[in-house]
Amino acid sequence: MEFEPKLIGFLCKWCSSAGADLAGVSRKSYPPNLVPITVNCSGRIDVSQIVKAFKDGADGVLVSGCHPGDCHYTSGNYKTWRRVALLKHVLDDFGLDPDRVRLEWISATEGEKFAQTVEDFTAEIKELGPGPFRDVKK
Amino acid sequence: MTESKISIDPITRLEGHGKIEIFLDDDGKPEDAVLQVPELRGFEKFSQGRKAEEMPRITERICGVCPEAHHFASTKALDGAFSATPPQTALDLRELLYNSYIFADHLLHLFYLGGPDFLVEDGKKAERNIVGVINSLGEETGKKVINARRLGHEAIEIIGGHQIHPVTGVPGGLSQGITSDEKEQLISIGESVVDFARETLDLFREKVINTEKFGSLLDNPEYSLNTYYMGLVDSQENVSFYDGDLKIVDPGGEEFLKTSTSKAMELLEERVEPWTYVKFPYLKEVGWKDFRAGENSGVFRVGPLARLNVAEKMKTGLAQEEYERYVNHFDGTPVHQTYAYHWARLIEMVQAAERINELASKEGITGNNLRSPVKEPGEGVGVIEAARGTLIHGYSLDGEGLVESSNMIVPTTSNSAALSMSIKRAALDSLEDGMSDEQVLNQVEMGFRPYDPCLACATHSVDGGLDIGLNVYNSEGELIKEIER
């Protein structure tokens, strides 16, 4: 059976989550692999939530927020950027492929971009294969 | 030793951190005994990739009994690896902290751990601890002992930031110096510990050294091992703890070699046995000739006895006086009597106390030039005399100052071959004499206590009284006796 990646998406409510809704409403087709979780602002995402998603069996994690300059809380997305950069550095050291984490800026009007991102990410993770904790029941 | 057949058959059961196995021959006579050390933590492995400057704080977690030794062996290895010679004030403070550690650690052994064997009259097991010592020496003396140990730890904390696991050692110096208030405190500590040392000498002369019980152990040829000895000496051939040249004497007491400490790793090799996690170092040039003493066997000893054997004298007055009595008693060095470790330790405790006193009032001790700039990272070896003997840390660093590889040779490991032999001697003798279980254990424990073995370094155990277990097998390989404490 072909490997179907399990992806978690942390989407900020003001931009990316709306973008995802738009993709849904306009019936853009994209793979069903991503489980979206809406957060107030990408700046609220604690990196340990991302790590936990992996520990719980995710194969990839998408973090998506407003475009630089557009964050509803001014600079939450810059902070996210730093967090994800630091996280990737640490994940690499842990032995987990940093490409399993992807950061994107998607606005409320970019339904298309959202669909495309999910499609690309799904394909990329398929390539990488199952995440390290995939079949461990916790 | 016969060939080892390896069978993978994991057996789990309750046992201590050190175990002795004894084998009887066809006639039920003891034939062999081995000491097993059942733990490994693997610091050499997980040091790899770490930032060099973290090593003093990582490696001291090898041992909470002598963290100061690991901390500064490590810091010295970094001084070498970064080609940064510390300023004089930093060196003096390090040495001051270091002597406080030697003082407190030797005190711990003399009064809490090994000493009770002799200080507590007809030592019952339950009484052979500090409480028993206080009961038998009186509360006043007991309080002095506890107080002196506390003073040693206070001095460590003033300079090192913590009583256990100091943190101030950095490549090329110390992260922080002392204030003039702290200097006053250290001076008063220095005076008190010298007083304590003087009283301790009198006490031990009366209660231990000159007693028949200790004397007969001290002079019993059965408890003598004519090995090589290794230790640091200063430029005047004095016993030295913090720094010096590495010197080795042969069993006849002749200088075998003397070299700069940077060569330390090249002098040794370590043998692996499949039945214990501890390795057995030996002198590379002489080679491994099984568990044997003598000129032709690379087995060597470290620690107080060894240091007094490699040096020609002590560095300070009171210690030198006692040293002369010691040398007279044995008609000169080398002293091969294993029980002489205790006496040598006492002499060293006195030197450490006197050094604290000297250094605390040294000019420039409150200076604030504490760190020399570091240069390109490379390789470094740090050698220091831990209370239990020569401790060697060797690192090689990459261009970024990360640890590529590290090697730590610790005193209890260095003594482990000799320790095994002493234990075997004691076990075999006591079993042959048909002693009771309790007596056998006592005998065996007394056989290893002189070394003050710290299996935390090799592995574990605070009191040198490892959770000892003793198994006796008959010639059929059946377990016929199991003694545990």
Partner: protein, 329 residues
């Protein structure tokens, strides 16, 4: 008299012994302790047999101080036995609390550990590649050693823990606090960590401006200002994500905090929390430019695991190395 005395146990598993020394560090207090408690099991300081321990009834020990992490099969067995025999089981010190420094071994498997120690180290002369065995025949007889488990685990990952006294080792005042609470019957709710409730930063006397950092420095590379926050000077200090209770003793002597007290309440993963925290103080620039700075910053941040998880790797979310496509806990 001894009827009303509390029975106290202490045990060290895979540890350095420093925690036992810390208990001895109570100095005179240890004598006071003996007025209301008797030591019923403490291999490091008194002579008790494992058989004595096995002979105790369930919950017969009032409180047991357990130090050291769980490395060997034997450590795990004794942890279980002590749990059964103790009313209160206290994780004492960083190793029992969070795996401690020996937990860094979790970045390698046990065979790699063996290979390094017994084969690769240059002073080791081992032409036959001998590795200690859990069971081996010597002269026809079988000798056993406890096996090493694949990973170091903190005590709470093996058995239920009632209280934690953190630190490497715990400062004597905290141990005294715990004992006082115990004697007075005032212990807080189960699961509590007996230490401060803030972070090390909040106790630290350095001036902390939460300045933004544009470069990380290693302590030996710079002159450290003794009055300013270390993090503000670009030196990684774990103070913001470490529980208070040590009087910020490392920053007080000009050394960064390494996090030995573990994270404050509610923080599960100390290292990850540090990333969150650092991300707030890193300099934020324009989009394109920031990317470049970011790379430069990170290139100056070697060994992130050793840096952010010095004491807590073992009970971090991952617990140690993960391997892509391999077996993971």
């Amino acid at each position: 008299m001894s009827k009303n005395k509390k029975k106290i146990g202490a045990y060290w598993a895979s540890s350095c012994g420093g925690c036992d020394v810390a208990l001895l560090g109570l100095h005179e207090r240890i004598l006071e302790l003996l007025d209301f408690a008797e030591i019923a099991f403490w291999p490091a300081a008194t002579d008790f047999k494992y058989d004595d321990l096995k002979g105790y009834g369930n919950n017969e020990l009032d409180v047991t101080f357990f130090n050291g992490g769980i490395r060997t099969t034997e450590n795990a067995e004794i942890a279980e036995l002590l749990r059964e025999k103790s009313k209160l089981l206290v994780a004492y010190g960083s190793c029992a609390h969070q795996g401690g420094i020996p937990g860094l071994a979790n970045m390698s498997g046990k065979n790699e550990l063996f290979d390094t120690v017994y084969k690769e180290i240059p002073t080791t002369n081992n032409p036959d590649g001998i590795i200690p065995q859990e069971s081996i025949k010597k002269d026809g007889l079988t000798l056993n050693l406890p096996g090493l488990q694949e990973r170091v685990r903190s005590l709470d990952r093996v058995v239920d823990v009632d209280y934690t006294v953190p630190g490497c080792p715990p400062p004597p005042e905290l141990t005294e606090d715990f004992l006082e609470l115990l004697i007075n019957g005032e212990l807080p709710e189960k699961g509590s960590v007996i230490a401060g409730s803030k972070t090390v930063c909040e106790e630290c006397s350095r001036e902390w401006n939460k300045e933004s950092i544009d470069a990380f420095h290693r302590p030996q590379e710079v002159d450290i200002d003794p009055d300013k926050c270390l993090l503000d000077q670009g030196i990684i200090c774990m103070g913001p994500v470490t529980r208070s209770g040590c009087d910020s003793s490392c920053p007080e002597v000009n050394m960064p905090c390494k996090g030995c007290f573990g994270p404050p309440s509610k923080v599960e993963d100390q290292g990850m929390e540090m990333l969150n925290s650092l991300a707030s103080v890193l300099q934020v620039g324009e989009e394109g430019q920031a990317l470049e700075q970011e790379k430069e910053l990170l290139s100056n941040l070697p060994d992130p695991i050793g840096t952010f998880y010095t004491f807590s790797l073992s009970n971090s979310i991952f617990g140690g190395k993960v391997s892509e496509g391999g077996e993971n806990d």
